[in-house]
């Protein structure tokens, strides 16, 4: 407490600081629950995406035959997402495009938010685990929907005594997915805050641009892609040939 707006920034001057700060605590069923920097940064990112969506919606109300400007960009984005989903999921792609597209855009914006001085919400295990849990519920829903009794018998394939390993494999999916995203973004956040916090001022001119380009933009985009791709791969794996 008592940090004010400072903890929202990634690097305070002269100290290494990348932890999640508690901003506001309140009592909830006997335990103190905190409003943290992750929540605030996530709200900022969500507001950005929503305002952008509203602007695009306004623009698309009077869409032109020959697109130009913002309409052109949005049509390109939608086409890229569509081909991205349908190349990984085939004919089932159309149903899942909205979920996977939303997931991809949110994770991408979260990952590159370090570039704008926010602490990425995906560098909080709570965020990534919830995202992975949503995906996992979707995977299991499709498993039950398309495989029916095969959900149970599938656990005993190819040999009956492999049941525990198969069960652990099912349960470990959200944990490994969330840890992968969390670990990557957290590693970038830690490295940047170490760089900003420990080195003299002369080293902070110019050089961090390359670090940001790699750790925030490149790594963030790759991880958003991987998270969306794994979601689609797992779901279409459960759908099978149906």
């Amino acid at each position: 407490m008592g940090y004010g707006m400072m903890p929202m920034l990634l690097a305070a001057e002269g100290e290494v600081d990348f932890s999640i700060h508690h901003l506001l605590g309140y009592e909830f069923m006997g335990t103190t629950v905190y409003l943290t920097t992750s929540h605030v940064c996530m709200l900022i990112i969500m507001a950005t995406i929503m305002i952008f969506a509203l602007v695009v919606r306004r623009k698309m109300m009077h869409a032109e035959e020959v697109p130009s400007g913002l309409q052109n960009v949005m049509e390109f984005v939608v086409e890229v997402l569509e081909s991205f989903v349908s190349s990984a999921m085939g004919k089932h792609g159309k149903k899942y495009m909205y979920y996977v597209g939303t997931l991809f855009i949110f994770v991408l914006f979260s990952n590159i938010s370090g570039l704008f001085g926010l602490r990425p919400p995906t560098a909080d295990f709570g965020t990534t685990f919830c995202l992975a849990l949503i995906t996992w519920i979707m995977i299991q829903y499709n498993n039950v929907k398309y495989n029916k009794l095969g959900v149970i018998t599938g656990l005993f394939q190819p040999l009956p005594f492999l049941f525990p390993i198969n069960l652990i494999g099912e349960i470990a999916t959200p944990i490994s997915m969330s840890l992968r995203l969390f670990g990557n973004v957290m590693a970038g956040t830690v490295m940047l805050s170490l760089y900003y916090g420990l080195l003299p001022l002369a080293a902070k001119i110019g050089i961090p641009a390359f670090l940001h380009a790699y750790l925030d933009l490149f790594s963030g985009a790759i991880q958003a892609y991987v998270f969306a791709m794994l979601t689609m791969t797992f779901i279409s794996d459960k759908i099978g040939d149906n």
């Binding site: 190349s87 991987v226 791709m229």
Partner: protein, 91 residues
């Protein structure tokens, strides 16, 4: 030796443990390198399938990376959210 406190010993050993945990980074490095090399060879053999090869390679590398990230998470836990301190010293 008398001036070493319990807390200091736990902190020192935890830090060494965090360093040792990051040895896990060797495996993913080798694995991702092999995947990238094979991907480059595959693109050389069949340049038309570059998109498919890229996405498969990235997916494989991301899965190979997981074990290294487990090491990273354990190192971060030992450094910044040490479970031993509160368990043994009731701080």
């Amino acid at each position: 030796m008398e001036q070493i406190t319990n807390e200091g010993l736990i902190l020192a050993c935890s830090t060494i443990g965090a360093g040792l945990a990051m040895i896990a980074g060797i495996g993913p490095g080798i694995g991702q390198g092999i995947a990238a090399g094979q991907g480059a060879a595959a693109v050389g053999r069949n340049p038309g399938a570059k998109g498919d090869i890229m996405s498969t390679m990235l997916l494989g590398q991301a899965v190979a990376e997981t074990t290294g990230l487990y090491g990273l998470v354990i190192a971060l836990l030992l450094m910044y959210a040490n479970p031993m301190l509160s368990k043994f010293l009731s701080l």
